[in-house]
Amino acid sequence: MNTVAAIEPARASGQRLRESAFRTATFAAALLVLALLGGVALSLLIGAYPALAHFKLAFLTREVWNPVTEKFGALAAIYGTLVTSFLALLFAIPVSFGIAIFLTELAPAWLKRPVGVAIELLAAVPSIIYGIWGLFVLAPILQRHVQPWLIDGLGPLPLIGRLFQGPPYGIGVLTASFVLAIMVIPFISAVVRDVFETVPDVLKESAYGLGATTWEVISQVVVPYARTGVIGGIMLGLGRALGETMAVTFVIGNAHRVGSSLLAPGTTISASIANEFAEAVGDLYTSSLVALGALLFLITFTVIAAARLMLLQLGRKALSNV
């Protein structure tokens, strides 16, 4: 190109122009990714400002949510979001671990790929499908067969009994947690499986060589080695559960209250927004819902950022071992 440049300076400068144009275009697109996150944060803050300025800190600590008197507090939604996500992880973590162990250590080669793909497909199913399935299939089953049994069996117990009292509605906090768990199981198991696969075979083989059983290899070599990645994967799942909207909206019942019973209807931040935003009248109502969104953004951003940092660390660790 140097000789060409000497002969045809015009053409060479055209090339340089295209080079810098293309380079600028890719850089601008990359910067747009940054701008998106900034834009989201900024627009939520601006939208939430009227509500936050009006209610001040009480917005976070009040349970009342009354569109008629225009009194709004986020406590019930925050409580519901945290409780459903916590319970969902409680159900999902053991199952996800089982699946990850099965896929990395146990499954014969011919079974590994189809089962792995099936689990990944479960993660591709849109959340609204989980919601409609939860409402029409899972909730009636829980209402008829599981909740009466929980109420009779656990309701009278001291302390934890309070969690299982009241009529079996079918929908409610427990059902929402269950649907959420089914949603995050494929997600967490896929990440944990990938993390397990970063463990070098030499490490595992030396443990087997010392006479360890498969379970001992997993619990004493694989899990400790991959610990940061495993926690990162779980937190990604938590981020997903916290922000999940449609699956929860169908089955939670949208009741703004902090109830002690897991069988009672409740609400989450995302379910409140999904249910009420399009119909919200009045600036304060809309702004309060946006403020809920800003809270959700803050919570999930923290969780996801921490998770990504942990996974990043694992990436470096894996690289330094190569």
Partner: protein, 282 residues
């Protein structure tokens, strides 16, 4: 000896439980698919694809909703796809080791798992409030924003798979970097990039939450991008929660259509990836 037997027992128990866990996971996939087919197939008819969404109790189909979903997904990927591919190109080529790339990668990963309802709120503040009404365009922009992180990620990964030797060969011929990228690297990574776009389409075509207050819904046929538009996810949401049997039936049929389309897209993307693996080596 008894200690050994105990260890073996624990091993058997733990592995048995992990097998059961896998069976549980697969059971739910089966249960959901079975419910969808069982409840959705009954409503499958030609009318579903030729008639508009009906009033309560009337007969009708989902044509306007299917059209709206396809239109918004296509516009979404037409906006989000090129931006994602360009940004991925920057991360993999021009800015591979730049400090800002580390930040962009991290932010992109965060956006990848950010709740989609937040994106809906963002676009509401950005477009719906300014325009004064809900619109198909706002819905498409929300979907585009969701498509960008997926595309950035897959594009960067796929471009990194292109052998350095090919890039060096092109540079040695005197090609400028943009020429190397567009004439050598893109063709070599084509099926990988297309896979990323397919995955992005699969991701956005089932999204409901960001459409609830951007595109809203429309009982009637509309092809006006500046007006509210019907779309499958929101129709499913509204019809499933309605007390009318004909609406609920349509919701199930819509759910079946959307799930089958997404599963086909995901499986197609997987095949494209595995064919890339063999194609890259030859």
């Amino acid at each position: 000896m008894s200690r050994r037997a105990l260890r073996k027992l624990i091993n058997l128990l733990a592995l048995g439980l992990s097998g059961i866990a896998t069976a549980v996971g697969l059971f739910f996939l089966g249960a959901i698919l079975w419910t969808l087919v069982h409840s959705g197939l009954g409503g499958m008819s030609l009318q579903l694809f030729t008639a508009m969404t009906p009033p309560p109790g009337g007969t009708g189909g989902l044509l306007n909703a299917i059209y709206g979903s396809v239109a918004m997904t296509v516009i979404g990927i037409l906006i989000g796809g090129p931006i994602g591919v360009l940004a991925g190109t920057y991360l993999a080529e021009y800015g591979r080791s730049a400090r800002i790339s580390t930040v962009i990668r991290f932010v992109n990963d965060v956006l990848l798992s950010a709740p989609s309802i937040i994106v809906g709120l963002f676009v509401y503040e950005l477009l719906v409030v300014r325009m004064g009404h809900f619109s198909a365009l706002a819905g498409a922009v929300a979907l585009a924003i969701l498509a960008i992180p997926v595309t950035v990620r897959t594009t960067e990964d796929m471009l990194n798979l292109v052998p350095q030797g090919m890039k060096d060969a092109s540079t040695a011929m005197g090609a400028y970097h943009w020429r190397t990228i567009t004439s050598v690297i893109y063709p070599a990574a084509r099926s990988g990039i297309l896979t990323g776009l397919l995955l992005a389409v699969a991701r956005i075509s089932g999204e409901t939450a960001p459409l609830l207050f951007t595109a809203l819904n429309n009982q009637f046929w509309s092809s006006n991008l500046l007006a509210p538009i019907a779309n499958l996810p929101v129709v499913i949401f509204q019809f499933a929660l309605s007390p009318y049997p004909n609406w609920q039936q349509l919701a199930w049929s819509g759910a079946l259509i959307i799930t089958v389309s997404i599963l086909i897209l995901s499986i197609a993307a997987r095949f494209a990836v595995s064919s890339l693996g063999t194609g890259g080596r030859s």
